[in-house]
């Protein structure tokens, strides 16, 4: 096996140095009653070429969005990834390193994450960002737990227009400790109905998502005012951060915590993972942040350098009193997004966001012209909800047979929207592909 390098002679000489006769003798501390009764039952090992063939067959059995025919978003977005991003991520000094516990040997990771934190705060207009969490869903759960800690209250209000999977993860994280989760309904225009907050008190956080699960831009300023009136924090989530190249970021509208999914920034969709949990907040909460932080410092000669810092919040020191149980971040995903944002730059981000907005607007307009109805009136980014006429489900199935995914059926998440579809367009879709989709949907 070419991943193992010990020769029989080397093994023999090492056993001799240890003073035992055989490899089996190294396991004398494992009692008989703990041992396997039978060897592991597995297929015989595959050589590199068989393995490649086997996985290539499996990969072919899965439709890549890059075929240009998947018009689905819903928390995972198809964006072009520059070759430079892919090439730099293959630098194995980055991907075969671990957590930068020893800063003198990991300045590359540390500076890159410090830069990532900076780019995130600038994008979201927040004061401070952590080194990343697993995904947007757990980032929202961590944000709510943090709000519960800092306000010392035990209930949170979460908009129904937050991605349903995010809300499920929040329930999983908050459930066992008995925190109460109130759901805020959405209004006819597709945005959160904040009136529902009138009837509740002692809320630790109000969580909305913008753009929300329907692609609609929420009125975050209003949500922040309502939250702050009641002494709650505004947690502003997102699944499509590219929107902040065009729309006002959460930090400019009073959000106390901005968190969400960063996959759009240079991370392959990869059937939903790994992802990037982006998390940012205000300076006053810095010691309550979950997860790792990289900070600037100097070495003993006064040269600029970077280290993991404020570790006293973390599990390896605070144990059960830590701000989170998280140990790692999703460092390589954070690196991917930083490289991606470095490639785009501020002007590139603005131009790309505008192009996405215009392309989605183009499809939305064409579908309205073709007689479909778009029920929600709020402005949208990349995604929008379409109400389909009776019998469209057969058209949808026919398109699936051709490998075209004409959006996500919303009935699975919202029973009252059973004839509705969530469509997504990014810069990867050409006008021609969209025209073809409209033709297919109407024929």
């Amino acid at each position: 096996m070419h991943y193992l390098s010990h020769t029989a002679e080397e093994i023999a000489s090492m056993l001799e140095a240890i003073g035992v006769e055989s490899l089996d003798d190294l396991f004398t501390t494992v009692p008989e009653a703990c041992r396997r009764k039978k060897p592991m039952n597995m297929p015989p090992p595959l050589d590199e070429w068989e393995l490649t063939g086997h996985l290539e067959r499996m990969a072919k059995d899965t439709v890549a969005a890059s075929g240009g025919t998947v018009f689905a978003g819903g928390g995972s977005y198809e964006h072009h990834i520059p070759a430079a991003v892919r090439a730099l991520l293959q630098r194995s000094e980055f991907y075969t390193a671990y957590t930068p516990y020893q800063p003198e040997m990991t300045q590359g990771t540390l500076q890159a994450i410090y830069e990532y934190q900076t780019l995130v705060t600038r994008l979201l207009s927040m004061d401070v960002a952590n080194a990343s969490l697993y995904d947007g869903a757990s980032a929202l759960a961590e944000a709510l737990l943090m709000a519960i800690r800092v306000t010392r209250r035990s209930r949170v209000a979460v908009s129904r227009a937050v991605h349903p999977h995010f809300r499920q993860v929040v329930r999983t994280y908050l459930g066992p400790t008995g925190y109460e989760i109130l759901e805020l309904p959405f209004r006819e225009d597709g945005t959160t109905d904040l009136e529902a907050l009138d009837d509740v008190s002692d809320v630790a956080a109000v969580a909305v998502q913008s753009p929300n699960v329907f692609g609609c831009i929420e009125r975050l300023g209003e949500a922040a005012d309502r939250a702050h009136q009641g002494g709650a924090l505004l947690v502003s989530a997102f699944t499509e951060p590219l929107a902040f190249g065009l729309f006002k970021p959460p930090g400019d509208q009073g959000a106390d915590i901005a968190c969400g999914e960063g996959q759009s920034f240079g991370i392959p969709q990869s059937f939903g993972g790994p992802l990037l949990g982006v998390f940012a907040t205000r300076d006053r909460y810095v010691r309550s942040i979950p997860g790792r932080l990289v900070g600037k410092t100097v070495d003993k000669d006064g040269q600029r350098g970077f280290v993991l810092t404020l570790a006293t919040r973390e599990q390896h020191i605070r144990r059960e009193k830590a701000t989170s149980n998280i140990c790692t971040n999703n460092s390589l995903c954070a690196l991917a997004s930083a490289i991606y944002l470095a490639c785009l730059g501020g002007t590139g981000l603005e131009d790309l966001a505008r192009l996405n907005y215009d392309k989605a607007g183009f499809l939305k307009g064409r579908l309205i012209d073709a007689g479909f109805s778009v029920p929600f009136g709020a402005p949208t980014f990349n995604e929008f909800v379409l109400e389909a006429p009776k019998g469209f489900d057969r058209t949808y199935e026919r398109l699936l047979d051709q490998g075209t995914v004409a959006g996500i059926p919303l009935g699975r998440w919202y029973p009252e929207l059973s004839s509705h579809y969530l469509l997504c367009v990014t810069e990867t879709k050409t006008a021609e592909t969209m025209e073809r989709l409209v033709r297919e949907m109407t024929s």
């Binding site: 010990h6 490649t52 969005a65 671990y98 900076t118 392959p268 810095v286 730059g345």
Partner: protein
């Protein structure tokens, strides 16, 4: 030793991203505009974004230089205890990037993603076989989330049986994530000490186990690198009082093909695909922390579950007892591909050999260094061994100094000051990937450092001397946090 690997070479400086930026540059090929502009809504657009503009070559040079300031497994030996820094095969990176996998949308209808679902289903089966457990969920994103899932499963199990328990037993050798994960389920950790042989005793566990206690969290082999020899008796004590046993599988790399986790009484076990199953650590993630459970706990596993019916794979949400969802989709699929590829290329026999060689390397390091470094538990170890700074104290040098000096010799330091039960710990996990001559070079470096400590301790105190930056001021960083530029 004739040549030190940590030789100084050409090291380039590099500015921060925004120090290089010039407004108007671009490193991205913007797709051609083939649609008209659509009017923007009023009052909700931002004025500008304050991100630096760079050209593609700027970006490539910037990150190439940063990468050169890093040390990875591909650079050299990285014996970071408890982290299993084994070699990450290149083919696995290639396979995870296949367009069908990398480009797959997670909400594709099942008919369009049979390959991805099939891979996950197969991987679940392989992990069940390797551990001896009955069922697997791949959803947790990393070890700590696997632990949390384990705690949620135990919590759900007790609730389902109408029993409300408030405590969980956590040994003093546990990873810090253990008590932190337990706290998320409202459990109060009850510490239990290991004995003078570095392992748990049945008496100590029996003393604290009661019917208010939900279970125990055990890392086996433990963080001292020792096999918990009384594990069978301990799990029986816990089960008798109605508790469950959570196994922290972070150290599974020691015992593949040797230990049957179900047989030793573990009810739920998490694995780290980024340790035992060779997926890269990525500078701190992404990882993947599947949980493996007994039949009894299977109904509580996270949803969605991957199911197979008549040779077709599907996702099933319909499990009323489930703890719920842990991830926006199904977990770190890209990481799972690499672990799956690793397991298939190894096969049963090589996996077992990997564990045996990992244990061989650790015992060899232990034997070759125990005359110069204090070895608190002089017994056969598993995949890692733990020394202390006791013998260094006379020269007034610390564990940290030894770690920093190792850098000058071209090695990544071991894990230091952990586990907490040993003062000034140096925790060395060579893994099976290191050949004998590599391990010999490491041993020689460690011995040379011990000699330096006696003869010229300032060499250690001022280390590292050969790195681009010298020792960094972590206290200043925490006192006046500067977390962005």
């Amino acid at each position: 030793m004739t040549e030190i690997q940590g030789a100084t070479g050409l090291v380039l400086n590099e500015a921060l991203l925004w120090e290089r930026g010039v407004r108007g540059r671009r490193g991205f090929s913007l797709p051609r505009r083939d649609v008209e502009a659509v009017p923007l809504p009023e009052g909700c657009c931002r004025e500008s974004t304050d991100l630096p503009d760079l050209s593609e070559v700027d970006v490539v040079r910037h990150y190439t230089r940063l990468s050169q300031w890093n040390f990875g497994v591909d650079t050299g030996m990285y014996p970071l205890g408890s982290c299993t820094m084994k070699y990450n095969p290149k083919i696995n990176e290639h396979l995870a990037a296949l367009p069908g996998f990398a480009g797959a949308h997670p909400l594709l209808p099942e008919t369009l993603c049979q390959g991805a679902l099939g891979l996950m289903y197969d991987l679940q089966g392989l992990l069940a076989e390797i551990t001896g457990m009955d069922a697997v969920s791949l959803q947790p994103s990393a070890g700590a989330q696997g632990e949390l899932t384990g705690m949620l499963l135990i919590h759900a199990f007790h609730r389902n049986h109408g029993s409300k328990r408030t405590k969980i037993i956590v040994p003093d050798t546990a990873h810090g994530t253990n008590p932190a994960s337990a706290a998320l389920c409202g459990y109060r950790p009850v510490p239990v000490s290991s004995n003078d042989r570095g392992i748990l005793s049945r008496e100590n566990v029996a003393r604290v186990m009661d019917e208010e206690t939900a279970g125990i969290m055990i890392t086996n082999p433990n963080t001292l690198g020792l096999f918990e020899e009384q594990i069978r008796e301990i799990t029986e004590i816990v089960h008798e009082k109605g508790g469950l046993v959570y196994g922290d599988g972070a150290n599974m790399n020691a015992v593949m093909g040797v230990v049957d986790m179900k047989r030793i009484g573990v009810d739920v076990l998490h694995l780290n695909l980024h340790k035992t199953f060779s997926t890269p650590h990525g500078g701190g993630g992404p990882g993947s922390g599947p949980v493996c459970v007994t039949e009894e706990l299977e109904p509580f596993l996270p949803v969605p579950r991957i199911v197979k019916q008549d040779d077709r794979y599907g996702l099933s949400e319909d499990h009323v007892k489930s703890v719920g969802r842990l991830h926006a989709f199904y977990g770190s699929f890209g990481v799972m591909i690499k672990a799956y590829a690793y397991i298939l290329s190894m096969g049963a026999e090589n996996l077992k050999t990997a564990s045996r060689l990992a244990v061989l390397n650790a015992n060899y390091v232990k034997e070759r260094l125990k005359d110069v470094y204090d070895l608190p538990y002089d017994r056969p170890c598993m995949h890692e061994c733990v020394f202390t700074d006791k013998r260094l104290k006379a020269a007034k040098v610390t564990t940290l100094d030894v770690a920093k000096r190792l850098m000058d010799y071209g090695f990544h330091p071991p894990t230091i000051y952990f586990p907490l039960v040993v003062s000034g710990a140096l925790m060395v996990e060579p893994t099976e990937s290191e050949s004998k001559d590599q391990v010999d070079r490491y041993v020689e470096a460690m011995r040379a450092i011990a000699a330096e400590a006696a003869e010229d301790p300032d060499l250690l105190r001022n280390a590292p001397a050969r790195t681009r930056l010298h020792r960094l001021d972590e206290t200043a960083a925490a006192r006046h946090p500067c977390l962005k530029g």
